[in-house]
Symmetry: C2
Subunit: 441 residues, 2 copies
């Protein structure tokens, strides 16, 4: 699509709570894959313009703000154990196997292929503790064309990390993180993969590692990601260790900045939210995962009303789906249970948290534009200067699951978002490049 | 498959909490579509036995214990309004259009096709108030081979039902229900479609209609379905009108028996549960729908521990998915939020309802065997004398979403149930007949 124009219907949600339908519009894409102009077809259509097939429409690609690439093979497994058991018995042993690059390559290639087919055009990845396998993931993203932020996981505390799966020391953890940053930034023709400083979470890191990574973040002007106040246990851990919350502790280590994304953040206090807001950091809300491991529902609407940047994450494999459509659905659903409450024996007045509901269109905004804002990247909406990261939606795909019975697709976005499945994503584009499916001619 | 034997792996959950893997087994199907024998392949394989392809396995078909056939066109729409608004503004006007049989035919045919492709081999349907369209739905199910229970909806109270969409009188409502029962029972070659007495719910019915339907149920030995204590509003309505609960009121009208299925039942009291148990009635738990319209989570584990029959329902279109796989997932997820609670500001001790969690294998049991028990039909497991209603699962289907990376499928049922999508259902069989997909040779 680079250097071409596309004529058709485009639907996006640049502003929370508002859906913008660009009907019979023309979007022109520069040779660098960014959007140069958006106009009405009635005002003129350049020669060689690509026509979207009748009944199809384009959406911005999804931004998955939190997922663990190595955990894809255990998607949907072991969801009935507490977080700390899930880590020690299942997750760490699986991740340890990524020391084997052949093992890693097969799984990472499949993951990236599947995510692109599912419409995830930008992904913020936790990799593993291994430098080489992390670099391999970055290479695979670049090769397959996915916009990605890839982090070598730091976990160096011998008291909490397995002997066969941890950084040998804080110094080495920081040095290898720096090496991965340099490697990714030096990848040839790299127009879309960025490094991320990635302390797993406070319970798995020494103070020396956290402080070293904070200094590195300032030095390298790099994205940062970690888990924050995910569960009762994780939230309580920081309070026990530091006498302050995860958020305050991360801030103290220099890990909270404009390009930081905090996964989960279920137990953020009002003070924490103010700290996150002041730092310009973002939250990756992982509704599906939190149902299993979060012990409560992230107060999303409260966070939005306080002005925090929030996007959505699948949290593969804390959540059992890698689909951002599922993340949108779970976001709406969890918010309803937060609003209404869960225990039917309580009175309606005391059961839930009023004014917590999030509708599907807001979830869609968060999964696209919201993720872009959280990452401070020009993605998630159709706007001049933004990357052309987009999905071609075919509501009548034979193997798909959308049934409009003749209704106009652009008027049924909620229905499409609720009922679409992978076959309804006819094509995925990143930076104007076709990266999955088949392009219209 | 009638009159043939099948060799392969079969996985089912006849007992709650237990998974039974029949590895390298042979199931023989009689000419009437029921299972005659199940044995080990090592003990002999009859001539002409069909071999399941390597890596594939069979599961029992799903029993959807609650869905509204006419609401399929609004699947995933209007999920942000209260139940009573959703009914009056969206649902009743849509259902009213099924007076037009051509309108009904297109939508019902698509629905049944889609449900079979999604693995729903038995469905307990609410149709509409219209006699002819209800009979048409029954005919379509029979033609397409789905095991179905189809009910003409009764809603005759002028105070609560729209003028253009209600029964003209209680007498006529009962008479037309009787006519539909007779019609369905007289359908030629009908080995799988049954009638259901279907008062919509107490708020839409007069006492005369409820009493008349109760008498009809006794006379015709017919299944009964209705909504019960679905939301704060619906639960409170019966209390206001009768000074007793939905359950007690339905019991008083003779509508609670061994073949009754109560949809939702979110607000059942302990006394209600005892009443349901004593009647041998069943509950259709609709976890996904309840997230939008239920105002709380059905206390499923409490109901199971009290010995109630419970199955799962999609509640098209109160829930935004017609997939019973999604119903299983939502059941597990809602149960986790019930157990853990939702408001992070509450202490862990007071936040949720301990011991409420339901794992995926239990949800699978409920979606198959549990539904069969609730309906008192021999479906939902592989057992001699039971109907051969089954799904052929292809975990490596190219367009599918299961990724086992070489693991043995029969050992990964949880993962398959969490990650499978429609393309992973290679074939669906009802009563030994192929009704969707392609049969192995």
């Amino acid at each position: 699509m680079r250097g071409r124009s596309i004529r058709g219907s485009f639907v996006h949600a640049p502003v929370r709570g508002e859906l913008e339908v660009l009907r019979v519009a023309v979007i022109t894409i520069a040779s660098d894959g960014t959007i140069t102009s958006i106009g009405r077809a009635a005002d003129g259509v350049p020669e060689g313009t690509i026509e979207l097939p009748a009944g199809q429409l384009m959406l911005p690609g999804f931004v998955d703000l939190h997922l663990h690439a190595p955990q894809y093979p255990q998607l949907g497994m072991a969801l009935d154990v507490p977080l700390e058991v899930w880590l020690g018995k299942y997750t760490f042993p699986l991740e340890a196997q990524y020391a084997d690059l052949a093992f890693a390559q097969e799984r990472y290639e499949t993951l990236v292929t599947d995510l692109l087919a599912s419409g995830t055009t930008t992904a913020l990845y936790f990799a593993t503790v291994h430098r080489e396998a992390t670099e391999l993931l970055a290479q695979i993203c670049l090769k397959q064309g996915q916009r990605a932020l890839v982090g070598k996981v730091v976990m160096d505390d011998p008291a909490s990390c397995p002997d066969d799966y941890r950084d040998a020391s804080a110094e080495l953890a920081v040095a290898e993180t720096r090496a991965v940053i340099d490697h990714i930034r030096a990848l040839p023709d790299n127009d879309r993969v960025l490094p991320v400083i990635t302390p797993r979470f406070i319970p798995s890191c020494t103070d020396a590692a956290l402080a070293g990574l904070g200094a590195l973040a300032a030095e390298c002007d790099c994205h940062v990601q970690t888990h924050c106040s995910e569960s009762d246990w994780a939230h309580g851990y920081a309070l026990d260790r530091y006498g302050k919350t995860d958020t305050a502790a991360l801030d103290g280590f220099g890990l909270l900045g404009r390009k930081t994304v905090l996964a989960h953040s279920v137990f953020l206090t009002d003070d924490d939210m103010a700290t996150v807001r002041a730092a310009g950091a973002g939250v990756a809300h992982c509704a599906l995962s939190n149902m299993y491991f979060g012990n409560a529902v992230f107060p999303l609407r409260r966070a939005l009303e306080k002005g925090l940047h929030v996007g959505l994450g699948t949290d593969i494999s804390g959540g059992p789906s890698g689909s951002m459509l599922e993340a949108c659905r779970a976001t709406a659903q969890a918010s309803r249970l937060l609003e209404d409450g869960v225990d039917a024996r309580d009175s309606r007045e005391t059961r839930g948290v009023p004014n917590s509901r999030i509708d599907m269109l807001t979830a869609f905004h968060l999964a696209t534009a919201g993720g872009g804002v959280a990452l401070d990247l020009p993605v998630g909406m159709f706007r001049p200067g933004y990357h052309f990261d987009a999905l071609l939606i075919d509501p009548v795909a034979e193997a798909g699951t959308v049934r409009l019975f003749g209704a106009e697709p652009a008027e049924r976005l909620e229905q499409i978002l609720y009922t679409a499945s992978r076959p309804n994503i006819a094509a995925t584009f990143v930076g104007g490049d076709l990266v999955s499916g088949a392009s219209p001619q």
